[in-house]
């Protein structure tokens, strides 16, 4: 069974440019999460999809970030325009329905390392 995949693995962009990150969750996982880790800090929650609906997007830093999950399959996270403080590693994770609140395992992708110059 394929795990969670993310694309690209690395992205280096100039301040003001746009970047789109993609996450393909494990097939059949309704829950999809985005997290971010800024260097030297802990992983921070960004948002949570249940199928195609945003369950919780309270962790999104500001309106320069837009996440979508069309058809409840893969998800994209767009940063427009990118700022220096957006640099970090963006992780995507997925889990099966109803497991999470009970402590269910989240499966993580390898992350996308975003560098904004």
């Amino acid at each position: 069974e394929a795990g969670v995949t993310q694309f690209p693995s690395h992205s280096v962009i100039e301040k003001g440019q746009t970047v789109t990150l993609r996450c393909d969750p494990i097939s059949g996982h309704d829950n999809l999460y985005w997290y971010r880790r800024v260097m030297g800090k802990e992983i921070k929650f960004l948002l949570h999809f249940v199928k195609e609906s945003k369950q919780d997007e309270s962790g999104m830093p500001n309106n320069r970030f837009l996440a979508e999950r069309t058809g409840g399959t893969y998800s994209t996270l767009k940063v427009q325009p990118a700022e220096l403080e957006d640099s970090g590693v963006y992780f995507c994770a997925s889990s099966q329905e109803l497991d999470f609140l009970g402590g269910g395992e989240q499966f993580f992708g390898p992350g996308t390392r975003l560098t904004v110059l």
Binding site: Y35, E42, K44, D56, S58, A93, G103, Q106, G109, P110
Partner: protein
């Protein structure tokens, strides 16, 4: 604010010894704590979960404890091996049902 803290300093352990990592939580009472392993360039991998009503949980060479009085979880690796070298992360749901994380402790097992 609700927070999870882990010792940010790297922990160096001789092969064969027991490694013990600490996770402290403040300003909330988590229903459970999860432990993850993360290798360089990879995402976190779930290892173990311990609930607030469990004092101890084991899985092969891993053991996790949960002390609600001390607001602390300890993660033990017995008979440690160089392959156990990684960063270990503690996480739990906060009151907003979001997973919050410690910064992780880097474990180095020396042959």
């Amino acid at each position: 604010s609700q927070k999870i803290e882990q010792n940010s300093e790297a922990l160096n352990i001789q092969e064969g010894k027991t490694a013990t990592l600490t996770c402290n939580y403040t300003n909330y009472s988590p229903a459970y704590l999860q432990w993850y392993r993360q290798d360089p360039g990879r995402g976190p991998v779930f290892l173990l979960l311990i609930r607030e009503n469990e004092k101890e949980k084991r899985k092969e060479r891993l053991k996790v404890t949960f002390d609600t009085t001390l607001k602390q979880s300890l993660f033990h690796i017995t008979a440690s091996q160089p392959a156990d070298s990684a960063t270990y992360l503690c996480a739990s749901l906060d009151s907003n049902y979001q997973l919050i994380w410690g910064a992780g402790t880097k474990l180095i097992i020396k042959p």
